[in-house]
Amino acid sequence: MNLGEAAQIFAFGVFAFISIAGALGMTTTMSMFRSGIFLMASFIGVAGLFILLMADLLGMLQIMMYIGGMLVMILFMVLFSNDPGGDMMASMKMPFLERFFSSGLLPQKKIHRDSHSHHNSRNNNNQADKDEGMNMGMDMSMFTSLKPYAAWIGLTVTIVFVLLFLLFPDWPVKNFIPDQDSSHRIGMLLMGKYMMAFEGAGLMILLGIYGAIYLARPGKHPDSKDRNDPSSINEEPPQAAEDPIEPFYNINLKELYEKSEDEK
């Protein structure tokens, strides 16, 4: 048990804890943004486990994919839900796990007492809140009715797998250190044996782009009118303080695009 192995066990403990705590936090925290961050922490824990298993290219791929992807997904979450900050939900009574994972949020009640007028101003400018009303019961909550059953189903699935892995540990384990230069080996395999997987993944990415663009149908859905015009959006930021020579990049893409449209 030299220093290396002790460090390995410690690192395994830390990464396993991060990934399980992150996954738990994702499901229980009240604020949507925070649940995205917890899921990202869980994926980073799993990436750490990948690096411990000497699959470092996979670990880095995992981190890169899930930091970018998660932040984009959080943007969609904020767009869809009318209480992403979790203020309204934080004030409701919650079992222990939810209260622990959303302990950083300040409940809505505090804002009530501090400045009553300010709360009303926040209320009337998003219409969706008005018709649902602020005093409704649990239908605003993030959980469906079958939450206890779901908890039991999840628990039984976990127990079944854990017992399976504990009671039948006779995997044909081979004590062999894999080749350290993983990117070279993966490249050779991708170009050789798995050429079809490489091109198939390219086609799948293409289908993903086509599907997303077709479904989102850009340009057909201008923003709804009831959203107030935010102060900080202005198309042309102020001119740089002084600009001795004409910058080489001065074509304005907007006109370029409109011009090409007029000709069509």
Partner: protein
């Protein structure tokens, strides 16, 4: 190699269980999508564990996981596009409110 193979498998089993809970218990569609991401991730971890402990010399386990992460990414983008559409038509993303097909 001091860590037994079961240690990693238990971690991925727990992640899988939490993913199942996340899908069944959450109301908003985006959280269901995140539950699916979590399950995809637990499976990817399992594959890398089997590659590392059982067949370290053959790297096809890692390529399988790369393809799984690609599927996760593309499924996330198309899923979000579908939710975008639903949000625009129904002004809500509560999954249990989409009951038109119930007839």
């Amino acid at each position: 190699m001091i860590l037994p193979i079961n240690a990693y498998l238990i971690v991925s089993a727990v992640l899988f269980g939490i993913g199942v809970y996340a899908i069944l218990a959450q109301r908003t569609a985006v959280m269901v999508l995140m539950g699916i991401e979590l399950i995809l991730n637990a499976v990817g971890l399992n594959i890398v564990v089997f590659w590392r402990y059982i067949q370290p010399e053959n790297y096809s386990g890692q390529i399988f996981t790369i393809i799984i992460i690609t599927i996760g990414a593309i499924e996330m983008s198309v899923g979000l596009a579908i939710m975008m559409l639903l949000y625009r038509n129904r002004k809500t993303v509560q999954v249990d409110k989409y009951q038109d097909l119930k007839g």
